[in-house]
Symmetry: C2
């Protein structure tokens, strides 16, 4: 892809618009209509999950989609309300709203503004890298925990009981347990039938928009049989048409209260969107601009705040549907927005009879897919410490709530990484008996040279690992009285900091006093740059740095060293382990 | 060194005692006497720095030295009061003591108990590695800042004014500025003369114990001329003999208040001692047990608490003196303790006339050596981000106090390391024109193969770096339409976590859909272990993993690839950069 101009970078339609043709348009329209009929019921369900009137979800699925179509670089990403952001919205706004429904809506809109502002700001300073600090273990643990929280938070609507749920699982379940006697059975029947319809339709005909089918059927049944008379809660009267744009205003204290949640939503929703967008782009050999994506979703969130919506993001399942339906450019999202605008302006009178439990059923079925037990098992098997990180994140999310669970998970994953980096794999290498390869003495029967030891360090030589590495060298020297030289194979030392350099110089000096020379071999570019900046070294002069371990051994112990080839005409040893 | 028994590990005299002879004894006695005459004035000065009566310093330099002699593994480490721990003691105890001198002494003793308890506990769980997280940048910045704080805290004693100093530099200086009108000039004269004596004696005859000379001269002059009549503060009456052992008792709230300071002292004082002990041990090809060292210094601190002292550590300058005076075993410290016991029992009556300003002069001269501007410049030049960490630690210590400065420095150094690790050096390699080495395309004119790209990643492939590395691979594929394969040279990938493995599998899958094969070469043992635990991979099967990059290129593009040797009889390419 050619180097792009500045304007094109900030206004992607200038790039994809030039090659736009009728074939592309047909694909975008078909996929846009497909996503549109999917997004109408989903956005209402996620608004309800966020504690908002379902129509707010529809508002959030109109202008923000058009804004993203103008600024986004992914042809497949389907923007709109998503489950995790909705849950985070509820947990952020509910404690501040104090049960005031109007205030709740205003706070949710301000939250979208804040999220958008943070995302645009991060996008302007190339801050998208922050999402890299969410490890897979944290994402799987958090998403699974949040899915259970979401499910639990929908049980009151699903059962037709009225409870004040807590921010975390124990509170929510305790509140539910106390209200179980008051279950409204017709509501429960709607939920059960709804789940059955969603699962059944998907099994029988995968391409039928099951949520739309459920909404139509549930609304019709509810209207015909007057379910609201049986105590089934319905969506009720909804104003037709889009709200006019306005800037929601709250106090400074409210802004401060919304900030932690806004930061969490800004980062998590971007992470969810960018990961799916990247996967879909790579499949079609397209290239994404992660920072422009951040600015685009940020602008979409700002517009969600101005048009009475709540935080939006690129959704996982919807985007996959868009890609499979052939979406080519962000225009596909604009077509989906058209479908939602139609629904808002023409169909809202029909929503009067839509049972809330039907929306709860949509959420319940959606979150089942978010609990990723297989992924969790895979992570725990691949890397047990990360299994612990995952467990901490999962348990923290369930027991302490989404923000604390996420923060604890990120902290734990950083500690786990530091812990491992502080204790790098260090292998002494010897020559495999009768062969020419150099391998770990602990794994293979090898020949050693009593005068020279060859040590390979796999990892960064930095403040936390420097002492361990130096101790390994000191230990070798203490254990082998005949040792004259230690060769440090630096081929896997990726990083050297001032502490590492100083410790290396220290240990070289100590070895020199004990009559042992320290040599370096296969020093990588970034490490060599650091050594060059330090300047001439007393104990590690230039002539003690060698291109390869073999060069170093030959220089120190001569060509007859047992660490080198048994016969001069055999090929040079290579070290793999 | 042979594998040691369990008992010997916990009671090192069983090891060094067996080879003990008259020569060793002579060395230990000479060095012990040398350190003893040095430690008497120093420990009084550091006690004064800690805000305690000077005799408390003497108490801290008796039994704890014997305990260390019994449990320590370093023959050269000279335990006793040290400057930084004294400063931390003052900053921890002063806010809790509320100006009550007796309470101050009790709290300092409890602090020593707490420090000792923490160190013993860490030593039992092999927690000594914690000190590795103090980078050189943090240590230099913290020590330099603390030295300035110490110097400032001594100015009131040095000038003979009475002020309530703050925890940080601005408060201390502001308090001093307000009291400058009341300077006691005879006191200032004692300080100035004291500094002159210390510097002068050291210049003229390096082996004369300058602090002892100063204490003797100052006491004599003060007694003969009655300096206390001129407003010069003196040490005053001191009870002769050692205090009997007792367990100091404070409230739970006080314990909690002492805890942060105790943690800081436990880690910092151990770090100071172990680094000097290691350097001295390596010089004589001895081996230290860092965890037993932690238990030994911990037990010494517990005894300091029981015998009315305050936190002790292995001192930097004293240990160097001990080593140069020929110390061989921890028995040397027991001899030094004997000197101090003699001073406590026989010489305390003479201390009545010792001017406090003479002790302040000892501290002032000692801390000058702690400000390490040269080390700071070296670190900033070697690694600019670490220069920033150093500046943060230094400024934080001066402006916010020792605990916050240290915590901020550790946090900053971890963030700096993560930031660099998250963005590893990634080099595409090509063959140098006319030669056989593979080098970075950005640094050298090289040949490439349009069908195969060779990428080397220098660093851990983990959650924070995985996306960047995957994006580099995606970028290559997007930029080169003719590409059929990407070879990832993993020789410098030291670590792979579940996120990295998943991202690698993802990007391999995306490449496969775009018709590009991803191959791995030179995978290190720890990384291979992780791949093995994941099990068979769909997009990275065993046959796509190669021993060397050359094998991979030959397998993918055949022996005629421009990345391989120009003629078959030339040696194989090697890659260094």
């Amino acid at each position: 892809m050619a180097r792009q101009g500045r304007l094109v970078r900030y206004l992607p339609p200038l790039a994809w618009g030039r090659a736009y043709d009728r074939v592309t348009l047909r694909h975008d329209v078909v996929s846009g209509l497909t996503v549109g009929v999917m997004i109408v019921p989903q956005s209402m369900a996620y608004a309800a999950l966020a504690g908002l009137p379902p129509v707010v979800g529809l508002y959030a699925a109109t202008v923000p989609l058009l804004v993203y179509a103008l600024l986004g670089t992914s042809g497949q990403l389907a923007v709109g309300p998503v489950a995790i952001s909705a849950l985070l919205t509820a947990s952020t706004v509910a404690p501040l709203a104090d049960g005031d429904a109007a205030r709740y809506i205003t706070l949710a809109a301000v939250l979208a503004l804040l999220v958008g502002g943070i995302q645009v700001a991060l996008g302007l300073v190339r801050g998208g890298v922050l999402v890299n600090f969410l490890s897979h273990a944290v994402i799987v643990g958090f998403t699974s925990g949040a899915a259970l929280l979401i499910g639990a938070s929908q049980l009151d609507t699903a059962l037709g009981v009225d409870v004040e749920g807590g921010q975390a699982l124990p509170g929510t379940l305790a509140a539910l347990a106390g209200a179980l006697a008051g279950v409204n059975w017709p509501t429960f029947a709607v939920t059960a039938a709804g789940v059955a319809i969603l699962v059944g339709v998907r099994r029988v005909a995968r391409w039928v928009p099951s949520a739309l089918v459920l909404v139509v059927v549930a609304t019709a049944v509810s209207g015909v049989f007057g379910l609201d008379q049986l105590g089934v809660d319905t969506v009720g009267d909804v104003p037709a048409g889009l709200p006019s744009p306005s800037l929601p205003v709250v106090s400074g204290a409210d802004l401060l209260g919304l900030l932690p949640g806004a930061v969490a939503i800004a980062i998590i929703s971007y992470a969810e969107g960018i990961s799916v967008a990247k996967a879909l782009a790579a499949r079609s050999r397209q290239r994404l601009d992660p920072d422009q994506e951040l600015r685009a979703i940020g602008a979409a969130n700002v517009s969600a705040g101005v048009f009475g919506g709540f935080p939006v993001a690129g959704g996982f399942s919807r985007s996959a549907v868009a890609a499979e339906a052939g979406a080519r450019t962000p225009l596909s999202g604009a077509v989906a927005a058209g479908v939602v605008v139609l629904a808002v302006t023409a169909l809202t009178p029909l929503l009067v009879d839509l049972p809330s439990a039907a929306l709860a059923a949509i959420v319940l079925v959606a979150v089942v897919g978010l609990v990723d037990a297989k992924g969790a098992r895979g992570i725990a098997r691949t890397s047990p410490p990360e299994g612990v990180v995952l467990a901490i994140t999962f348990a923290g999310t369930l027991l302490l709530g989404v923000e604390l669970g996420l923060a604890g998970g990120v902290g734990a994953s950083i500690v786990a990484f530091l812990w491992r980096s502080a204790d790098p794999h260090i292998a002494e290498l010897g020559r495999v008996e009768g062969a020419t390869v150099l391998r770990n003495v602990r794994r293979w029967p090898v020949r050693l040279d009593p005068r020279v030891a060859l040590l390979r360090v796999d990892g960064a030589l930095y403040f936390a690992s420097a002492m361990r590495i130096a101790d390994a060298i000191r230990g070798l020297v203490a254990d082998r009285p005949a040792l004259e030289a230690v060769v440090l194979d630096a081929s896997a030392i990726s990083q050297l900091d001032a502490s590492g350099a100083q410790e290396l110089e220290h240990v070289a000096g100590e070895l020199a006093e004990a009559g042992v020379a320290l040599h370096l071999a296969t020093v990588r570019g970034p490490v060599r740059d650091v050594l060059a900046r330090i300047g001439p070294s007393g104990h590690l002069p230039e002539e003690r740095r060698h291109a390869t371990s073999e060069d170093a051994i030959a220089a120190v112990a001569g060509p007859d060293s047992p660490l080198l080839r048994p016969h001069p005409d055999e090929p040079a040893p290579e070290h793999i382990q």
